[in-house]
Symmetry: C2
Subunit: 136 residues, 2 copies
Amino acid sequence: MKDTDDKLINRNMKPTAMRELVLDALLEQNVAVSLSDLEKKFDKADKVTLYRTLKTFEENKLIHSIDDGTGSVKYALCAENCQCNPHDLHVHFFCTECKHTYCLNDTPIPSVTLPLGFEIKTINMVVKGTCANCKK
Amino acid sequence: MKDTDDKLINRNMKPTAMRELVLDALLEQNVAVSLSDLEKKFDKADKVTLYRTLKTFEENKLIHSIDDGTGSVKYALCAENCQCNPHDLHVHFFCTECKHTYCLNDTPIPSVTLPLGFEIKTINMVVKGTCANCKK
DNA sequence: AATAACTTTGCAACTTGGTTGCATAAACTT
DNA sequence: AAGTTTATGCAACCAAGTTGCAAAGTTATT
Ligand SMILES: [Mn+2]
Ligand SMILES: [Mn+2]
Ligand SMILES: [Zn+2]
Ligand SMILES: [Zn+2]
């Protein structure tokens, strides 16, 4: 019984071969991945299946999606017991050198004061620059 | 000599009919507009011309583009002497009720402390929720 | 005024990322 | 084993953005 099996079952998903594969890929990365990243990695697998796998993962809060402004949505693993609540939100970082998108899990989104009458539901904050790896 | 002519000339663009039209449309709005918004508004005009008009405006810093996460880029007028520098950056707000995107010109983006080695170049911060107009 | 040179516009066509419908295959349930 | 549900594969579609190229319009030069 694999480790990934547990993770899937814990999040109420059946541990199919495809899901194991995708979850493994996500686990071995320290950066967020896009659908097309996965398509390249598993060139045998069907795009739609990968797409639906990610959707399923997201619905069940195993991963969260990141809109980093590049035009392709990235995905990254959620923390162990994450429920994707507003207070779980963190800043994301897009490196313009290596083009990688990072979850800055220890960097919470700072609070903003909005004009009168504006009510916040959620926030997306993406910082662009150079990452620690690309710093010379 | 129209007011819009001045604005275009000041930003080093020739005041063509198309540009006048698009600039007028932007001026009369208090929310950001997308390319397809303009396509609907000027159903005679060609999509590509509108597209290039927006690009030209952006290059010359008459407008700035906003990635609000909806999948279509929005555009809004820059402040009078805006140079689109990092310190000119403000928070954007997307209302999930009316689907409008606002420039919160008086809401600067709060500063964030990044992990060691990460260097910021620019930031995008989009708040989602309900706007003052949609508040009951 | 005629010509040349450059800029703007219109049309067609294409790319990429995301998405749907439907049929088959695989996995559970009884 | 038969029936029911769930997952996968393939084709096709859609929206947003983008490019190439030729025609139209503008500005500069003779
Ligand atoms: Mn993240
Ligand atoms: Mn703005
Ligand atoms: Zn990097
Ligand atoms: Zn609203």
